[in-house]
């Protein structure tokens, strides 16, 4: 099973280093150091780690905003050189156009890719429905709650039909209940679309609940601490979060992060 999957890597990070150079002072921050990992087609990956350990940097490198200072990332065996139509991202910070309604915001990605057709319009409406915003198509972002806005972001990222979906703490602004609801929705959407997904979160139980594998990152410099396979049956219901096996994963990852944080003098939030 594992060997069959390994022959079809979706994404490979090889000897990846990312360094930020301050333009004014010339000083350098090593954000990521020697990241080696492989993600298979259709996998759901979660990344956890203390704040500042380079999770966003990693996604920004995959989306193509940042050039590695060493090593490379291969997507479908091709080196990533910049943004591409095969990827889309749900950002940590809100990024909807305030003067566009929900429908036009969701269409924004395909519009930029010059793919506005009756077909993509239909897909957009389907995703709006899928994220639970049917009836809000003509509302403007300021008329939506933070959680609803984040769902618009998700629908927008899905509408371009990426083969790799990147999500940077998409649910961090949500209340606990909406968050759990969205976790289930995301899993449902993922099981329908089978898109390879990389999801950053600070919540360990969220990571375990969603992921096929959890990558634990450590800080200073950002590095991969562990890669944990989550062997919980799918489809997963919320009640799985109370099962001993689930809690064992959470405990284990918690321990890893705590260890990393204490090493760096961080507090675990």
């Amino acid at each position: 099973m594992a060997s069959a999957a390994a022959s079809n890597p979706k994404l490979q990070s090889q000897f990846l280093d990312v360094t930020y150079v301050n333009n004014k002072t010339g000083s350098e921050v090593i954000a990521l150091k020697n990241i080696n990992l492989t993600i298979e087609e259709g996998e759901f990956i979660c990344i956890v780690g203390p704040s500042g350990c380079g999770k966003t940097t990693f996604l920004n490198t995959i989306i193509g905003f940042i050039k590695p200072s060493n090593g490379s990332i291969l997507l479908d065996n091709k080196k990533i050189e910049g943004p591409g139509r095969d990827r889309s991202m749900v950002f940590q910070s809100p990024s909807l156009l305030p003067w566009r309604n929900v429908k036009d915001n969701v269409m924004y990605g395909v519009e930029l890719q010059k793919r506005v057709t009756s077909e993509t319009k239909k897909i957009a409406l389907e995703y709006i429905e899928m994220v639970g915003l049917k009836g809000f198509e003509n509302h403007f972002p300021h008329e939506l709650s933070g959680g609803m806005q984040q769902r618009v972001n998700l629908a927008r990222a899905l509408t371009v039909d990426p083969s790799l979906l990147l999500l940077d703490e998409p649910f961090s602004a949500l209340d606990a209940q909406t968050r759990e609801f969205m976790q289930q929705e995301l899993l449902r959407i993922w099981s329908e679309t089978k898109k390879t997904s990389i999801f950053i979160t600070h919540q360990i139980d969220e990571a375990v609940f969603l992921a096929d594998r959890v990558f634990v990152f450590g800080a200073r410099p950002g590095h991969l601490v562990d890669d944990i396979k989550i062997q919980l049956n799918r489809p997963r219901a919320l009640k799985i979060k109370r099962e001993p096996q689930f809690l064992k994963y959470v405990d284990h990852i918690w321990g890893l992060i705590e260890h990393e944080s204490s090493k760096q003098g961080f507090e675990v939030e």
Binding site: S88, F91, L97, R100, F140
Partner: protein, 270 residues
């Protein structure tokens, strides 16, 4: 109106309330203007203030009635309108692209910024003597003054608008492989509109000042010219007709900007 009916009841109520609010405010404004005119008339009638200085609303209306059938006066209005329209139009079609480009391109901005910043704060009427020498006392010199006065607020506002773009939006656009031009069209331009309209509004006021001052200083026709002469010959009522024509033009033009603004910001929270 149709649009309001389709949205939720709560929203509809809100809209309805707003309309009655603005109706009320409009009535208060109308009343205050009427009260002012009556007070003015009374002051003049009972000579509480020398009528030579303040004329009176009735006399002004009378003078307006006479002037507006006088083809010479209509010609003055025509000349001023022409000067203003051409000067302001140039300020728009040159100022907006320059401002936007300056906000978009740092190098271009570095080139023009010293001039724009310096001239923005300079009273352009100080340049009038030299403009008159260069362009004569005809309409061209007035067009130039209107242009100069309106140009800088417009450039500055466009430039400022571009420098306050939301980087998060640009990042999102780039992630969808947006080109520079697409970012410009879908993010930069729409974000610019409110700032730009504000600059245009300031430019309008400046342009109207430019017309009057320019025509006062040296000209052979125009409202400012007529107004100055009327004032000097103690035809106060005629002078006030000129003032009213300019004031009403300003109000109408600003109102038009307001309408455009409303159209472009229909998405905005109340």
């Amino acid at each position: 109106m149709k649009k309001d009916e389709t949205i939720t009841l709560g929203k509809f109520k809100q809209t309805k309330k707003k309309i009655s609010n603005s109706q009320r405010n409009f009535m208060i404004s109308t009343f205050s203007v009427i009260a002012f005119l009556i007070l003015w008339e009374v002051c003049s009638y009972y000579k509480l203030v020398n009528p030579l200085f303040i004329s009176s609303p009735l006399k002004i209306v009378e003078a307006a009635g006479a002037l507006f059938v006088d083809s010479a006066y209509l010609n003055h209005i025509g000349v001023s309108t022409y000067e203003f329209a051409i000067g302001f139009l140039f300020a728009l079609i040159i100022g907006i692209p320059i401002g936007i480009f300056a906000g978009w391109n740092q190098i271009f901005n570095a080139i023009i910024n010293p001039f724009v910043s310096a001239l923005y704060v300079t009273p352009k009427v100080a340049l009038l003597p030299i403009i008159i020498i260069a362009f004569g006392i005809g309409i061209t010199s007035k067009i130039v003054v209107v242009f100069l006065m309106a140009f800088f607020p417009i450039v500055m506002s466009a430039q400022k608008a571009m420098s306050t773009l939301d980087q998060n939006l640009i990042k999102a656009a780039r992630s969808f492989t947006a080109s520079e031009f697409q970012i410009f069209r879908t993010i930069a331009l729409p974000s610019t509109v409110p700032f730009l309209l504000n600059g245009i509004r300031i430019g309008l006021g400046q342009g109207l000042i430019a017309i009057v001052v320019g025509e006062m200083y040296a000209s052979t026709a125009g409202i400012g010219y007529h107004l100055t002469h009327a004032g000097q010959n103690l035809k106060t009522a005629e002078m006030f007709v000129g003032v009213a024509v300019i004031a009403i033009s300003g109000v109408i033009l600003t109102g038009m900007i307001g309408l455009i603004e409303k159209k472009f910001s229909s998405w905005k929270p109340e």
